[in-house]
Amino acid sequence: MHEPAVLRRHTTPEIDRRINDDLTSSMFKTPSRYWMLVGFLALVTAMGAGAAGYMFVNGLGVTGLNRPVMWAFFITNFVFWIGISHAGVMLSAILRLSQAEWRRPATRAAEVVTIFSLLLALTMPLMHMGRPWRFLWIFPWDFARSIWPNVRSPLVWDPAAIGTYLTSSILFVYVALIPDLAVARDRTKGIVKAGYSLLAMGWRGYPMQWRLQMIAGILLSALILPVFVSVHSIVSWDFAVTQSVEGFHSTIFAPYFVIGAVHSGVSAVVTALIIFRYIFHWERYILPKTIDNLGRLLLVVATAWFFFLALEILFGLYARENSELALRTLQIFRWPYSLLFLIFIIAAYGFPAPMWLFKGVRRSFFWMAITTISVNIGMWLERFLIIVPSLARKQALSFNWSTYHPSVIEILIIIGGFSFVAMLVLLFAKVFPLIPIYDIKEGEILKDEIIIGKKRIPAVMREE
């Protein structure tokens, strides 16, 4: 078969209009199940907020915390959501840098999940503090009295890192949103149009603007990746520098937490994409190929994470100190932690990773949803099993050993948090396009084919 010199179809207004229609449908044609879901989530969130208010009034006594288990559910949840927040930007940044074509529909959803889970994660330390109304003291603001925060504390590194990450990921999303805001501006009327016009800042779409938009994607990705790595490392140092808690004091914590975050975060993004596909009927954009590739990525990430987990446990036991042995016994063999540990290992690795070996699973939306939710159940338990047993078996003075039972208040707050994030993401989809419209259109333009022998092979144009 002879290959013509030009073998591609250009996009036409029809294609672009269809893409616009499909991808703004979440904004302009909201299905009723959307409102039902949002309403339900708002109810659950309100319940969690009520519980938080009750705790605020009565003090941390209403939780199950005790001495020495001074950190438990809130910190577990904090680490969990910081972890989820990591997938997003990391995923889109890595995929942008590696110019993976299949990234296009997934990037913004991932970034948005990042932002809202970061917001929730930020509330967790506030819930956890004894006097949350004084959280400002962690920042260097008290010039009048010149009393400063202690920069030697990881709890000061935390706001620095998370603040940087939140600021940059919001801006990252915003910059990539500008061309799509222009679409929204051109499709609306009246006061709504005025709002979108303001946000779109007068975008016209001339070549230089597009070029800068492309550079911005790459440049910001490259800048955000190091921030992303640092954030979870610093969160891990909240634990690892604690020399008195054997289960925390491990050098591997930083990369172990980061890779764990990627593991749970990418899974969360996959779950989210599948749910969006169902709610907004994005069958044409979120393809089996997309989640297949994400599944492959997850397999690699999960195995790397498992390597770090093995190192962590191996080198924890390595020194054979009595208190370390007591901690590991509690963590792995004592009821109810033994059950949790079993669930954790199976849910985070034992079940999903072998499943992802099969192409059929990776391409099935149902199974990918099941496996990725399973990963996140496991990863939540992972953080819990690091934090609570380590504190419950702190040091060799066994007189103080303790255990922990969460109170109803804590459980309500945690559940409320989950629905809070879900609700915010859904509300975002009502206001902004959740799939980057211009990115999909660009994909259409760059899509090409080459012919080798008798086979047509999909191809892309490459600018660099």
């Binding site: 290959e3 010199a5 030009v6 073998l7 591609r8 590696s98 074509e101 990746l225 190091p226 790595v229 490392s233 140092w237 690892a240 520098v241 020399q243 004091h249 491990s250 050098t251 591997i252 914590f253 930083a254 990369p255 390597f307 770090f308 190192l311 962590e312 191996l314 080198f315 924890g316 036991l317 390595y318 020194a319 054979r320 090409d448 080459i450 080798i452 092979i457 999909p458 191809a459 892309v460 144009m461 490459r462 600018e463 660099e464």
Partner: protein, 462 residues
Amino acid sequence: MSRVEPQIITKSNQEVTREILAITHTMGPGYKKAVVFFGLLLLLGIIGFIIRAVDAGFNDFRPWGYFMAGYAFLLTTASTAPLFSISQRMVHSHWRRPMARASEMFGVVGVLSTLMFIPMIALLPSSAGRRSIWFEWPGTPLYSDTLAVVFLAVLGIVLLYVAALPDLAVSRLHATGTRRKILDRIVIVNWKGTERQWAVHRASLRVLGALYFLFLVLVHTIIASDFAEALVPGWKDAIFPAFHVLSGFQSAVASTVVALFLLYKFGGYKDYIAVDQFWAASKLLLPLCLLWMYFWFSGFIVYWYGRQPVEQTILRTFMFEAYLVPFLLGVMLSFVVPFLIVMWNFVRKTILGPTIVATLILFGALFDRIRIYVASFSIADMRPDGLTSLEPEALSAVPRAVLPGAPDVMMILGTIGGAIFLYLLAIKLIPPVSIWEIKEGMLYRRRRKYLKTEIMVMGKPE
């Protein structure tokens, strides 16, 4: 920004085959000189080894620190180098094609590292009474480590053989004389290039690659823990094996880049190697340099923050007192200088820039390995007699730094020389630029007119 156009080879398939084989099959005077030079270096290393063996014997591991550092350097560079092609093949990158073989070729160095491991079998004490990852299992770490090391070397050679098989089959048809005889012996598969053969080839490369990856990580972990961490009482550091693996990744890319540069400059493969490869590889080196620092700092901050005497002694031994100089050299050459160079795109987009960075990184890896293994080997076996109870929990004092003697220098030089010597021998038997991968790559690239510009189109087979 000027653009680098993806390299397009305009030659026909036959031309490519003929040219590459012609270069592979001729030995110029420069090549012969290099072989003799590095052969002599290897000889020097063997002499150094014999001097040390006569001098110190194999009862105590303490005099063998530099020998071990040499071995670890080989593990970090040569044995890890094939990972480069494995990982790039996994993500279907096109630019890897001309450099895949250069990285797999390091598999032959497995012969040398296995030979170097033999004295270790005599030197390494059993795990009884020692805090190690083996928890005093009988027979460990001796049998376990030996098995892993030998298996890795075999796997490396098998991987090279399988990857090169299509080329070897072609090479056999073009070869004459001794080379023909050797190729007749080793090409045992009747390679015709049928569709089925290619499918099996692809699948076996994938399986072998994954196996090699897993085993390499395992070998790094156990070597790092048995030959360094377990020898130092109180050194409990979970990130160290991971750091070892990571610096291996960095050195793997670096050694491939250096090998590629030499092939480009002196090997005669100028038509097939372009700036693309150096540019893309240096894009990998940039994050790897950052990760090197990150992994080091992650371990460091945890030790620095607490005031546990055990940890402070370890920090002072390995970084801030006894081995300060090799440590600083390692940091400078593995992170600071390479990072400052490779962060500039205009440097990355040259052939010389990435090569210089890669060379620095290799030296950095060498100093880093010397710091770790010489320090660990310098600490006496502190297990009580009879091995009935555990060794002490902590290092009582910071040991003095061990400076290299003449045999040590000879052994290090011999290790490096020997590795290059083996590599040089191999490139005249196996084409160091993969013919089939280049041909495959030629299939997927097109240049097309698009409106008023010209554009590159790349096939992305599923």
